[in-house]
Symmetry: none
Subunit: 217 residues, 4 copies
C-alpha cells in the first residue's frame, strides 16, 4: 500500500539514502535490473538477495517491505524527472531569443539523455505505473500536474513569439503528451533502445512542428 502523501514518502525514503551501505547500493542496483526486466510482481526478494550477495533479511532491515523497496527506486526518479527537466532549460529560454524549434530540440535531447542514463529505472517506473492501477492513481496525477505546470509556461512564451500555432493550450499539451509518451514508451520500453540517434530527434522535432501532411499547393 502506498502512503497517501507521496511527498512524505519521498522525504522518508531520501533521508535514509544519505548514508547508503555498499550492500544497500547493491540491493537497489539488482532490484532495478530485475524489476525492469521481469516486473516487480515477478521478482522474488530471495532472487534479489541472492544476486546482490546479501541475506534476505538485510533487504527487509533496510526497506521494511518489498513495496517500499520499489518506492525507494521509483520516487527519487519521479521527483527528479520534472524539476531537473525544464526548470533550468526554461531559465535559459527566458533570456535567450531561441526559437521553439531550438527549445524543442534542446529539451528532447536533455530528457532523452536523462532517461538513457536511468533507462532501467524509467522502465520500472513506467511498467509499474501502467501495471498497478493503485500506483497509477497515486502517481499519475502528480506527474501530470508537474508536467503541465511547466509546459504551459513554455507554450505561452512561444505562442507570444509566434512560434506555435494558435491552438488551445490544452490541445497542445495533449498532443505533446501523446507524442512524448509515445516516443519514450516505444523506444525505451517496447523497443528497449539504449540510446536515440540525433536523426531520430530531428525527425520527431520536424514532425511535431510540421506533421507529415502535404498542404495542397
Amino acid at each position: 500500500m502506498v502512503n497517501n502523501n507521496l511527498l512524505d514518502e519521498m522525504a522518508k525514503i531520501l533521508k535514509k539514502s544519505n548514508k547508503q551501505t555498499v550492500k544497500q547500493k547493491k540491493i537497489i542496483e539488482v532490484a532495478i535490473t530485475l524489476f525492469a526486466e521481469k516486473g516487480y510482481s515477478n521478482t522474488a526478494t530471495s532472487e534479489i538477495a541472492k544476486m546482490a550477495g546479501v541475506a534476505e533479511g538485510t533487504i527487509f532491515k533496510h526497506y521494511g517491505t518489498k513495496e517500499n523497496l520499489l518506492l525507494s527506486i521509483m520516487v527519487p526518479f519521479i521527483k527528479d524527472f520534472f524539476p531537473t527537466m525544464a526548470d533550468e532549460l526554461i531559465g535559459e529560454l527566458m533570456n535567450d531569443k531561441c526559437t521553439f524549434e531550438e527549445f524543442l530540440r534542446a529539451f528532447l535531447t536533455n530528457r532523452i539523455a536523462f532517461i538513457s542514463e536511468n533507462r532501467e529505472i524509467f522502465q520500472v517506473v513506467i511498467k509499474e505505473i501502467i501495471y498497478k492501477e493503485e500506483l497509477k492513481n497515486e502517481i499519475l496525477p502528480y506527474i501530470l500536474e508537474a508536467a503541465s505546470v511547466r509546459l504551459v509556461k513554455v507554450i505561452e512564451i512561444f505562442k507570444q513569439r509566434g512560434d506555435i500555432k494558435d491552438i488551445p493550450n490544452d490541445s497542445i499539451l495533449k498532443m505533446l503528451g501523446t507524442v512524448m509518451s509515445g516516443f519514450f514508451i516505444s523506444n525505451f520500453i517496447l523497443l528497449n533502445k539504449k540510446s536515440i540517434s540525433e536523426d531520430a530527434i530531428e525527425d520527431i522535432v520536424f514532425f511535431i512542428l510540421n506533421g507529415f501532411g502535404q498542404s495542397p499547393q
Copy 2:
C-alpha cells in the same frame, strides 16, 4: 512459455472456443476484467473462480494453465486487430478518391471504436506485452510486421497522390507508430478513458497532418 508460432497457438485456442460453455464465457469475462484492472500477475485464479461463480478446477479443466487462459484472451484480439484493421478500409480507399485526411479520420475512428468495444482486452494485451519481457519478444515482432505491411501500402498510395510529404516511409511509419501508440496508451491505459470525443480525433488528425509549429511568414 508461448509457442514459437503464434498462429498455431491461435488455431488451437480458437478451435476450443467453438462450443463455449456458459461457465467458460463467464471465466473469460471475469479474467479479462481482473487482468485489465490488476494485471495478470496480481490476479489469483481462485479470485477469478470465485467471481465467475465457478470451481477453481473448472478453469484449469478448460485452459490448462493460468498462462493459457491469458493467451486465450490475448491471441484472438491480436489476431483480429490488424487484419480487420486496414484491410477493409484499404479496400474502399483504392476505389475512392478520398484524401489522406479523410482516410486518417476514418481509420482512427474505426480503430478507436474497435478498442473502445474491447477496452479491457486492449488493456490486458498492452499491459502484459509491456510487463513481461518474454511475451513482448514473442508478440511484438508479429504486431510490428502486421502493422508495417499494411501501413506502408497506404502511405505509398497517398504519397503518389501528393497527400503526404516526401519523407522516407520508415520515418513516417515511426512517427505514426509513435503518435498512435502514444494516443492509445495515454487514453485507454493511462487515463482509462472509455471513449474518445470526435473533437479529440480532429485534433490528432490535424496534428498529424500539420504539427503545431507556426511556419515563419
Copy 3:
C-alpha cells in the same frame, strides 16, 4: 480401501467381467500398461481414459473407484496364480515317477510362462503389494497360505522319495520362497525381462539342488 474379505471382492468383480464391453477391455488393457509402468499412484484416471479413447465417466461407470479398477486387475491374477500353479502339476506328479529335478524344471517353466504371458499384470501386482502397506497386509497372507499349502505337499513327496535333503520343511519353504521371489522380482520387475532362457532355468534348477559351494574332497 480394500474390503475385508478379499474373496468376496473377487466374486463381485468377476461377476461383472462376464459381459465385458469393448471399451471395458480397452480400459483394463490401458490401465494395466500404465499401472505397470508408472505405478497406480502416479497414473491419473484421466490419462487412462484418454489413452483408452473413453470418457472419464465411463471408467467410473464400470469400476466405481480407481482402487476398484486396480483390484479388478490384481485379483483375478492372484486368484489364478496358485491354483493353476501346482494343482495340475501335482496331479501328474503323483502318478509319475518323476524326480524332484524334473518337477522343479517343469514347475518353473510353467510359472515363468504364466508370468511372461501376464508380465504387466505381474508387475502391477508386485509393485502395489510392495508399495502399499495396506494392500500388502491384506493380500500377502493369502498368497503365503496358498503357496505353502501346495508346496508342502510337494516337498513331502520328494522327501519320501529321497530327492530332497532332510531339512525342516519350514526352512525349505523359506529358501524356495527366497529364491523364487528373488528370481521373479529380479527378472520381471527390476530387469524388466520379457522372457527367460532355458539356460537360465537350468542354472536356477541346478543351483537350488546343489548350491555353488564346492564340497571339500
Copy 4:
C-alpha cells in the same frame, strides 16, 4: 528428474547435510518413516511437516522439492551400501585364509546388520526403485555395476582356493543376486522383519553352498 551423474547429486546433497539443523534432522527422520510405510507418492509434504513439527515451507527451504527430499534420503544410503560393503571384508579376506563359507557368513551378517540399522531407508530405496521406472533406470545400473565389480573379485579368489564350483562367474553372480535380493526383499520389505536370526543366516549360507537337493547315493 534425477541428474545424470548420481555422484554429482550426492556431492551436492551431502555438502548441505554438514550443518544440519535440528529441524532438518527431524524432517528427514519423519520423511523416512512415512516414505517407508506409505511410499513416496502417498505421502504428502504437509503430513511430513506436521509430524516433524515444522512449517511446510521449511521443507522446501531446505530441500527445494519433494523429489529432492527423497534423493537426500536415498543417495547417501546407496552410496554407502556397496563401498562399505565388501571393501573392508575383502581386505581381511586377502590376508586371511578364511573359507568361502566363513566369508559368506561374515558378509551376510555384516550386510544384514547394516540394513537392520537402516531398515526404513532400505525400504524407501527398494520401494522407490521398484515403483518408479525413471528412478530405476537411473539408479539400478549404478547399483549393479558397483555390486558386480566387488563380487567378481571375491568369487575369483574363492574359485582359485577351490571353494566355489567351476561355474561361469556370470551365472554365480546372477544366482547370488537372485538369492540376496530375494532374501533382503522377502525379509525386510515383504515380511517387514526388524532383524534376522543367526539360524536364518546359517540356513541361507548352507543353502547357497549346497542347495537342498539330495545327490543320489
